[in-house]
């Protein structure tokens, strides 16, 4: 990223939060929703812009599970491991995902295509087990549906409508 552009982006992101007390977490949320993660160069720029030490920014990023330091895969698959989903078979879904994609939870496939994550209770426990793909919710998922879901997204990405993402 070129420096001038970065500076502009950062001052846009910080925006009216710049002078508010306790703004760091809110600004990090904004960064992550723009880039999908918190890139190091952006943290550096924020540190200059808000005049807070980089160490303090990292201290906060690493404490909170929600913030990511690495770019997400093209598709992020989040498996709910809340209690209801756990009881209704979420571990089996996760195993199956890990088996099909050949990665473990928290990893991204080599081609950068899929990332598998575990999340806690998406608030639709009535429909357990639940997983989301790029925010789209799949409810009452069965193990044998996993393959189908993955191939659907793989086909979509390869089909060239690049980065088309369905919002929930």
């Amino acid at each position: 990223m070129d420096a001038a552009q970065l500076e502009k982006d950062v001052s846009e992101i910080a925006g009216d939060w710049k002078n508010k007390e306790g703004n760091l977490i809110m600004i990090l949320h904004r960064i992550q929703s723009k880039y999908g993660y918190v890139p190091r160069e952006v943290s550096l720029e924020i540190s200059k812009h808000l005049d807070i030490p980089l160490a303090r920014i990292y201290e906060v990023i690493t404490f909170y599970n929600y913030f990511k330091l690495e770019p997400p895969g093209k598709c992020t698959i989040s498996v709910c491991m809340g209690t209801a989903c756990y009881l209704k078979g979420a571990p089996t879904l996760l195993n199956e995902l890990e088996r099909v994609l050949g990665i473990t939870e928290g990893q991204t496939t080599k081609d950068g295509m899929f990332r598998v994550e575990v999340v806690r209770c998406l608030g639709c426990c009535g429909l357990a087990p639940v997983l989301t793909v790029d925010g789209k919710i799949y409810q009452g998922v069965k193990k044998n549906e996993i393959g189908e879901i993955i191939s659907k997204y793989a086909a979509e990405e390869n089909g060239g409508n690049g980065g088309h993402k369905e919002k929930p």
Binding site: G22, L87, L127
Partner: protein
């Protein structure tokens, strides 16, 4: 007159069909040029379960259930255009619930402040500001007996009074919308379904305590709740219900949303405060309590979403009315998210004092799986299990504590015979270990030790002495941990151990898991008489654990088997045995 239609797919097992249904309905309304006169709203919860697509039509107040696409033309022409009631679609469901907190969910459009106001919204704030007597509000709350719904059950009036009595020009009120219990979604439903009532409650809290600023701390994982609260705040500002001179009074109150970032410990008051301050969410010792020294060192009141949603009805209908509902020490209603092995999974709001049996069987419809219900778990990672023998217990703060659980924020997970209590304890404990902030040793080290012991037990390496060790470490954690997370993390272990010690013993002594959950304590084998030698299992096994051929038959290598169960699922003649 404009009609409003609330729509929800109340079937808990299927994929949500409400969206497609709405689209079809919207198109047909457009064909009849009725789309301008009808507003379609997808409801978050309507207190009706397993009735398929349900629609509530207002102002006619008709409730249709099991509605299908083929019914849409009739509904449009006869009910919406003709005002006629279609008796065959009317939904009759037992009105066993008592909706105070959820009163507006599925009735008021959560994105329209006008709608909220039309349903007596902001009447309570108007009354409070007109009387201009905070003491009177406190007295009303005291009479009502309202206690915090976030877990600890501290009397709300007392908490407000503490903050009110501190002489300080700047004070804060915070709505705790962190909803950390992994398996509960009461607060989310209220924030999404009736955001205004929570804002009104928080505004009244501000007025009574003398705080001019309020925060909504909401989990980042709840984007719709965040969006709705933000919209509602914006609308309240536009209507003069936030900001300066609210409703013509001298009272000023500002509100803003702050997001959580995926840390369970941030539901704890002092950690939540640190998080709003933009820091790591580490708890700190109390006292000083937030009511004297909270956010930025100023007096701060923190209340749960559900607590705040109770405020307006109490003010409008009186504390005496509220106190008339519930038990001696627990007043009003409680919302539970009943999930797990239950037929009608969903939110229920019942008067305090309702028995667990009524909730699980009469409202929830029982296990629904044909298996026997074994226990419920309340209070999430801080709570405990309640075996079926105790299901006649009326729910209330003290009652649940007496039987080794807690009311908690309202998660109620139903478990049946196929659930293993060691596994459950392990699940909750792993959650707490993952979420421990690591600041104090009892929680950090004790939690890991407990988890190690539980893992040994479920792996078949348990010894009898481990059971005593579990109890010992648990007591130490309860006594010595700094914050509520560590103090309550052993509860799921202790309560399963107390009620289901036999099950633990079977794991330890017989190396057997009666529910066949603990992977190392059961195995898959092939019943040779039933096996048709098709070889499907060999091809399906992801671990290459099955060997053999059509002539000799097949065997499963226990050492290689990962217990995924794929063979059991795919075998047509049911020749795989799990045991």
């Amino acid at each position: 007159m404009i009609k409003r239609i609330f729509i929800r797919d109340t079937n808990s097992s299927s994929a949500d069909k409400a969206r497609d249904f709405c689209n079809v309905l919207r198109n047909q309304l457009r064909e009849k040029q009725m789309d301008e006169k009808v507003q379609l709203i997808r409801a978050a919860d309507m207190g009706v379960y397993n009735q398929g697509i349900v629609m509530r039509i207002l102002p006619d107040d008709l409730l249709y259930g099991q509605v299908e696409e083929k019914d849409i033309p009739r509904i449009v022409s006869e009910t919406i255009c003709g005002g006629k009631r279609l008796n065959d679609l009317m939904c009759h469901h037992a009105a066993r619930q008592c909706r105070i907190v959820l009163r507006n969910c599925g009735v008021v459009d959560p994105e329209s402040i006008e709608d909220y106001i039309a349903q007596d919204g902001y009447q309570a704030l108007a009354k409070v500001l007109e009387q201009n007597d905070p003491e009177k509000v406190l007295a009303e709350l005291k009479t009502s007996g309202l206690r915090g719904r976030g877990g600890a059950g501290y009397p709300t009036w007392l908490k407000w009074n503490l903050a009110r009595n501190v002489k300080e020009s700047q004070k804060y009120v915070i709505c705790n919308g962190d909803e950390g219990d992994p398996g509960a979604y009461m607060d989310r439903s209220v924030l999404e379904g009736d955001p205004y009532s929570v804002i009104e409650g928080l505004t009244i809290a501000g007025f009574v305590t003398g705080a001019s600023k309020g925060y909504f701390y909401i989990r980042a994982e709840y984007p719709l709740a965040i969006e709705r609260i933000q919209k509602a705040i914006d609308q309240a500002y536009a209507c003069g219900l936030l900001g300066e001179n609210i409703l013509g009074s001298t009272f000023r109150f500002d509100a803003e949303v702050r997001l959580g970032a995926g840390a369970f410990v941030c539901g704890e008051e002092t950690a939540l405060i640190a998080s709003i301050e933009g820091k790591r969410g580490y708890p700190r010792p109390r006292p000083p309590y937030p009511s004297t020294q909270g956010l930025w060192g100023k007096p701060t009141v923190i209340n749960n979403v559900e607590t705040l949603a109770n405020i307006s009805p109490i003010i409008l209908k009186s504390g005496k009315w509220f106190a008339g509902i519930g038990t001696e020490t627990s007043k009003g209603t409680k919302v539970f998210a009943v999930t797990g092995k239950v037929k009608n999974s969903g939110l229920v709001e019942v008067p305090m004092g309702t028995s667990i049996r009524e909730i699980v069987f009469d409202i929830g419809g029982g296990a629904g799986s044909g298996k026997k219900v074994k226990a419920v778990q309340t209070g999430g990672p801080s709570g405990g299990v309640i075996p079926e023998d105790f299901f006649n217990t009326p729910v209330g703060y003290e009652n649940l504590q007496k039987i080794g659980s807690i009311m908690g924020s309202g998660g109620m997970i139903v478990m049946d015979e196929s659930d293993c209590m060691v596994d459950i304890a392990k699940f909750y404990l792993r959650f707490c270990v993952d979420e421990s902030c690591g600041k104090c040793a009892p929680c950090r080290i004790g939690g890991t030790q407990l988890l190690n012991l539980l893992e040994k037990i479920s792996d078949g390496k348990g010894e009898e002495a481990h059971l005593a060790a579990l109890r010992r470490i648990s007591f130490a954690m309860q006594k010595a941990s700094l914050c509520g997370l560590g103090q309550t993390a052993p509860n799921p272990v202790l309560s399963t151990l107390n009620y289901f010690e036999d099950e633990y013993r079977t794991h330890v002594l017989e190396k057997r898991c009666p529910a066949r959950k603990c992977g190392r304590l059961f195995r898959y084998s092939i019943i040779q008489e039933k096996c048709k030698r098709c070889g499907l299992c060999v091809r399906n096994c992801p671990s290459d654990a099955i060997s053999g051929n059509r002539e000799k038959g097949y065997v499963i290598d226990e050492a290689k088997c990962s217990r995924c169960g794929l063979c059991l699922e795919t075998c047509k003649p049911n020749a795989i045995l799990r045991g």
